[in-house]
Symmetry: C2
Subunit: 149 residues, 2 copies
Amino acid sequence: MQLTRAADYGVRAMVHLASMPANTRAGVADLAKAAEVSAPFLTKVLQRLTSAGLVVSHRGANGGFTLAAPACTISLLQVIEAVEGPIQLNLCTGPCLAHATECNRQAWCAVHCVWMHAQAKLREVLAQASLDILARDSARRLELIHQDR
Amino acid sequence: MQLTRAADYGVRAMVHLASMPANTRAGVADLAKAAEVSAPFLTKVLQRLTSAGLVVSHRGANGGFTLAAPACTISLLQVIEAVEGPIQLNLCTGPCLAHATECNRQAWCAVHCVWMHAQAKLREVLAQASLDILARDSARRLELIHQDR
């Protein structure tokens, strides 16, 4: 029950994009450095984020990546699910009650309700965290660390 | 970010043990049937549950497994962590704040706090679900299904 490394690096890259000044673009090398991962690995992650419509890849001399929407409208949950698919705590839980997977025990198994409840709580916390707040909080903490030195 | 099959089958077996009349024991074959898994696979899971002190293995003619403590004192969280180790949503989160793993970004990374918060919520839901309530709820639902037939 652990986040994939791909999703973790995707989140790092997205928070970095959210921290950049408006109208600036970041290349794969910069994003890979910010996420502390290899460029080939991050390229695959960026492809998934682009396919999910969270990131735009600009071509040309001034090319690079930008967020596809304002950072305040993109949640941690969206980034994670773009990279590793819908969060599914157990085989019998879909991303929400309406999409719960069929299980022959589901009609009577009381544990199924707990899996659904736990999954909903987990998704709720991740949905409430937007990229702009994460980027601003991180920047503020980094500033304080630099001031202390 | 998904429960292991071992933990799921462990939970099924534990709920079955919790549903049995007092002073009765269940053999591996019965538990495997109840959990809908092979006996060799469940044997390994039961070894972890025994090591964790949640289950007692009785030898002899009347041998078999019982819960090591009243079902109302054993939570879903305890069963899961006995089988698959402490829940750790990301590499930087330990089972609680005091045991968070070192990460060189931890001092400033705002996402770390969200991982910790999400993990705490997930553990909270699983800690609140005790085996006796799960066993009773499941039994009641099964009864209703049989009445309807």
